[in-house]
């Protein structure tokens, strides 16, 4: 068993107007940065996963996303599982 580090990103579904992102985009444009657009604001969650392998870790975290971390009515999630450090522990 190893400790993997999971990086989880949760954003509003594309079909839903992200008013916070829109407001920030307007602010960026008023700072003369017209090259930046389509701002989406979401949440970043990090957690350790105790699992035998990377696939299991991915499954465990995706299950957590579906059950609690994201509300699929309004949000999408993406999960990035990072390899454990050499000593097998994240910390």
């Amino acid at each position: 068993m190893k400790y993997y580090l999971a990086h989880i990103t949760i954003t509003l579904r594309k079909a839903i107007l992200d008013v916070q992102g829109k407001t920030v985009e307007n602010a960026l444009h008023s700072l003369h940065m017209p090259a930046l657009s389509n701002v989406r604001i979401g949440k970043h969650i990090e957690l350790d996963v105790h699992a035998p392998d990377k696939e299991t870790a991915q499954d465990l975290v995706e299950d957590a996303c579906r059950k609690l971390l994201a509300n699929l009515v309004m949000e999408d999630y993406s999960v990035d599982i990072l390899e454990p450090r050499k000593n097998g522990q994240m910390k």
Binding site: L12, I16, L17, V19, T23, L69, N71, V73, M74
Partner: protein
């Protein structure tokens, strides 16, 4: 009738809901979120407004795992009457007892003011005494109701949209919509007709001294519902 009002950590309208229930002639009882069961003689359960679990993660996302929620689901599945007000509405959506979700207000602001509501369906245990427009306060930052198009279509077709934000003329306009809610939706009911969720606070509008007593009709509707039930059995 006996109305159980659940107190979650962070609920702040539970006392108001109990007071409104009592003033309208019902018996109100506090139900602690860690309780495993709601009182066996309770006929209505209210999930009150507030900021349960500090709105952590998402509004209502943690409260739905409170021990009492298991019994609330059982109660609702057996036809028990459940009212979710404000944060209670958010909890009902998160727990799957009502469809859709409530997200950040379109103007990104916490809106605290009176709104006008048009009652779209008076054929429910919660709205049978309603007539005309209702002036009731709202106080929320996440009240913009959304649902997938097919769900929304079903809600409208089956008259499950119970309350809509309107102007003085009773028109559901963009200006009368305080939070960007889709189709100006302020409250919905489940398909079975026994679980209702609404963002406005009827319990805060029960006496003229509070600025409005229009919220009283929700509690009066419950009284009518009981009387009808008694009449139908005698």
């Amino acid at each position: 009738m006996k109305i159980g009002v659940i107190t979650f950590p962070g609920s702040n309208c539970d006392a108001d809901a109990r007071y409104a229930a009592t003033v309208s002639g019902h018996q109100a009882v506090q139900v602690w979120h860690k309780d495993e069961a709601i009182p066996s003689d309770a006929e209505v359960i209210i999930l009150p407004g507030g900021f349960s679990y500090g709105d952590y993660l998402r509004t209502g996302a943690i409260a739905r795992f409170s021990p009492i929620m298991k019994d609330v689901k059982r109660f609702a599945s057996e036809g028990g009457l459940v009212i979710g007000i404000c944060n209670g509405f958010q909890i009902l959506c998160e727990s799957g007892l009502l469809p859709g979700a409530l997200i950040r207000n379109e103007n990104l602001q916490f809106v605290c003011r009176d709104v006008l509501l048009r009652v779209e369906n008076t054929n429910t245990p919660f709205t049978s005494a309603c007539h005309g427009l209702m002036r009731i306060p709202i106080a929320h930052g996440e009240g913009r109701y959304i649902a997938p198009p097919e769900v929304l279509e079903r809600l409208e077709a089956q008259h499950q949209v119970v309350f809509r934000y309107v102007n003085e003329l009773g028109e559901a306009t963009k200006d009368s919509n305080p939070n960007g809610s889709i189709n100006n939706i302020a409250g919905i009911i489940n398909e079975a007709g026994n679980v209702i969720g609404m963002m406005p606070h009827p319990e805060r509008a029960i006496e003229p001294v509070l600025g409005s007593s229009d919220g009283m009709v929700v509690f009066e509707s419950l009284t009518m519902h009981v009387q009808r039930a008694i009449e139908s059995t005698t």
